[in-house]
Chain length 430, copies 2
Amino acid sequence: MSGALLLTGIGQLLTLRGAVPRRGWALADPGIIRDAAVLVRGDRIAAAGPRREIERLPEARRARKTDLGGRVMLPGLVDSHTHLVFAGSRLEEYELRLAGATYEEIARAGGGIQSSVRGLRAARPAELERGALARLVQFAAHGTTTVESKSGYGLDLANELKILRVQRALARRQPVEIVSTFLGAHVVPPEYRRRPQAYVDLVTRRMIPAVARERLAEFCDVFCDRGAFTPGQARAILAAGRAWGLEPRLHADQLARTGAARLAIEIRAASADHLDRVTGSDIAQLGRSGVVCTLLPGASLHLGVPFAPGRALVDAGAIVALATDFNPGTSPTLSLPMAISLACAGMRLAPAEAIAAATVNAAYSLRRHDRIGTIEAGKQADLAVFDVADYREIPYYFGVHLTSMTLKRGKIVYARDGVRGWPRSAPGDA
Amino acid sequence: MSGALLLTGIGQLLTLRGAVPRRGWALADPGIIRDAAVLVRGDRIAAAGPRREIERLPEARRARKTDLGGRVMLPGLVDSHTHLVFAGSRLEEYELRLAGATYEEIARAGGGIQSSVRGLRAARPAELERGALARLVQFAAHGTTTVESKSGYGLDLANELKILRVQRALARRQPVEIVSTFLGAHVVPPEYRRRPQAYVDLVTRRMIPAVARERLAEFCDVFCDRGAFTPGQARAILAAGRAWGLEPRLHADQLARTGAARLAIEIRAASADHLDRVTGSDIAQLGRSGVVCTLLPGASLHLGVPFAPGRALVDAGAIVALATDFNPGTSPTLSLPMAISLACAGMRLAPAEAIAAATVNAAYSLRRHDRIGTIEAGKQADLAVFDVADYREIPYYFGVHLTSMTLKRGKIVYARDGVRGWPRSAPGDA
């Protein structure tokens, strides 16, 4: 018996093979193989294809076998926009918002991001790590194997570094892959309210160099919107980030159309996220661009606002990705299957389009498409198994927990009826 | 050691104690006890209250103990509107709808309910039972302990009886409580398209008496809407049902404002369901009536239409309940926590209001409020435990699976890391 693992009895294997990134018609082709098997060797996929072909391989005959009973397998889901590390929830604000307060009213009253900043600054790293670890267990339980996570609740040098160091520690101590993004420009912190340019200077001259020297992030992000940073400020921050090797991403046009999507195109950002307010000509230009359009329908649902024009972006040829925007204020879901359901019901994406957006295109936006986001020989063995007979049932049975197994780098990190291979943590911690 | 079970370490116990039904301000008071315990004797709650008081009881000292580690306990959720028994999914139609077809276009093309009718008529009872059983396991896994279920995919005497007999068999062979509703008047079947009155006669003269004689249902329901039955037809059917002892419920004003909500008030129906299209004066009258307004936000989300005016109904004083409308066409979710999240985000109900709507008021609409829907001594021990520290997190973490334990009549029917006490069934069956 070799060390290999044969996953067989896969009713539908969604390989997502083909050109990367996916756009236009290609977005709707999930590359399905029926009655399939996947051979895993170490942390890699050794072979993936029709069951009869794979089972015939000499290595497959000697491998440990797991029969998946006709279930559906997807590439491990890639969540390309989250705010994983925070202290405390924002339940009070949630009730206020349900009672009628707007996002911006809450922010002006010191709630919103500012309340997360107060909590974060007061928290010890061990406490932050414990909370985030419990959340990562839940990400894996919902099929996610890679999570991008942003700083941005620190808003001073020490606390921004604290978040990014917690993320690095987490990357080492648990199996879900973490991609770090520096979001020092999340909002202007209260102590700089009257001199925002001084805060921009702090970000560009002190924070970015410190983050880069410690190799704490791969990307630099700016919340470029009404009440946050202007396109001019965002341009300066992202240029400084790039000079230090951090590729740009942007929170763009969520609350108002401020021109952030145009900026993303101009500077060739890896991704422009949210896009709730983009209009016809923005959509056409995004469609022709190489910028990934990362849609976050969970935030729209939670805030009770219309969904971003996902269908129009797909039809315009855009590289659409899909993420949870997991954060305690505006999108507390960490279920990518939920985001996939919302993209279908709320934005009229086809199930296959939404799944490609949450796997291969999300991997592309994180510059990891050579390694994750599809199921083919040589790729990392990041796999998610769902308790359905047809992949379209994943969005269809919305809000129902269907993930039955998750593998990261060839190891089972979640299995219904038991979570394996995790450091211990209290289940109610999240 | 007695046969009693002591559930202790409950961080928040939502008793929902008080006057039934709940309306107005009372809807927002969940009757919370912090640091609580519940003593279960047989299938009943023997005592519920502050931990120190309960633990002091002689019977509690001898009981088996389960410490819930600070988790939140609610009354077992009551799903008062589902269509549980069907054959096959409606995935093709789902993709068509996402691509732009309307509910009514699909119905005219022979899709929609008619496709479920074809599937149901062709299915053997054992097959229907197997599918429904797998779904009931999932209901329990999401915290639901009582499920109302409607016939209505048979649309002839033999097949309507087939559904209701399957429901009776299921009620005996698994723990989730099933409340049967006869919905022979779901749509006019194809063979009666040109003579709908003949179908109404069949329902009133043959089906209702047959259902009542076999004691197969407690309620009679009519889909009274554009494309289904008129208020006049509904009045005749529900009068016949009542004469045979079946209390009336109504699918009302979902697709168009046809006057069904007014009819519900006039005939003092147990419940008027959907209500997406009710307007100002309907809302005011419902608010003063004794009719339960059963809101089904899952269907609105799945169909991509605006949510019903839940906030306005609560503010008008209506007895609001909340259900999944679980069915393969328009609301494939069987998660009441999901419906609770949607009622908050989409209809601006407070978390406490939504939880009261999915427990005590739903129980009232099913005429079981003397036995279920609250946690107090003498009530049935139907309990749901969630992996959170504050009940507001249940809607807040939308789409995330948080149920950690479900008890029905004092027996554990779901526990995370293992489902106990169920007859065996294939997990992928649903």
